[in-house]
């Protein structure tokens, strides 16, 4: 089974801090994704990566950056945390899109609170 591991389930940070959310997958997936989940809004894509050192903006990239130095690891960075970034963050991975019906596999999520 695919395992997507997020480093923290709960995280509390202060406004202005630089925050790192880590995600690791163990199935050699090419694609990795970061979403935020908010009530009534579903999941919104922040950034995704289809290869090492490659990244593309999703629908809501403002205030975030990402890093993918190794294939199995995809990090989300809040450059200067703000209260409106309090949310649930989900990481996902999937196989290369040649198998286009392949699903994304998700981690448990990180509930981030910015005070």
């Amino acid at each position: 089974d695919v395992k997507v591991t997020q480093s923290s389930r709960y995280l509390v940070k202060r406004t202005g801090e630089k925050v790192f959310l880590e995600c690791v997958q163990d199935m050699d997936h090419e694609n990795m994704f970061w979403y935020r989940q908010d009530p009534g809004l579903g999941l919104r894509l922040i950034y995704f990566s289809y290869d090492v050192k490659m990244k593309e903006k999703g629908d809501i990239p403002e205030g975030y950056s990402v890093s993918r130095e190794k294939k199995e690891r995809f990090s989300l960075i809040l450059e200067s945390a703000s209260t409106n970034q309090t949310s649930m963050y989900l990481c996902a991975s999937s196989l290369l899109a040649a198998r286009r019906n392949q699903p994304q596999h998700f981690g448990d999520g990180t509930r981030l609170s910015i005070l």
Binding site: N31, L43, F48, A92, P103, G109
Partner: protein, 116 residues
């Protein structure tokens, strides 16, 4: 741009009965994929069922089936013989067929309550 709409924020069903969750989407493409994901209270999102737009036959996975109406751009999920473990938030998702990145567009989610 493609959009996915789940118009039912909350649904409830009696154990052992059948419930249908609705999903509509908007796209001008003919090649795409649709998914239903389940997010139980423990939060890990898991795939329930998937449908390829080029297939006319509705997908089925045990007690879960879809009603895929391509012309109406509708993709509803039917859960038969509902069980307490089906209680979760359900998300409908769309993927463009020619996408090389596997990017998904999600609906707002429907919270399903199962009453004993």
């Amino acid at each position: 741009a493609q959009t996915v709409t789940q118009s039912q924020p909350e649904m409830s069903v009696q154990e052992a009965e059948t419930v249908t969750l609705s999903c509509t989407y908007d796209t001008s493409e003919s090649d795409y994929y649709l998914f239903w994901y389940k997010q139980p209270p423990s939060r890990q999102m898991i795939l329930v069922i998937r449908q390829e737009a080029y297939k006319q036959q509705n997908a089925t996975e045990n007690r879960f089936s879809v009603n895929f109406q391509k012309a109406a751009k509708s993709f509803s999920l039917k859960i038969s013989d509902s069980q307490l473990g089906d209680a979760a938030m359900y998300f409908c998702a769309y993927r463009h067929g020619s996408s090389n990145t596997g990017k998904l567009i999600f609906g707002q989610g429907t919270t399903l309550q199962v009453k004993p």
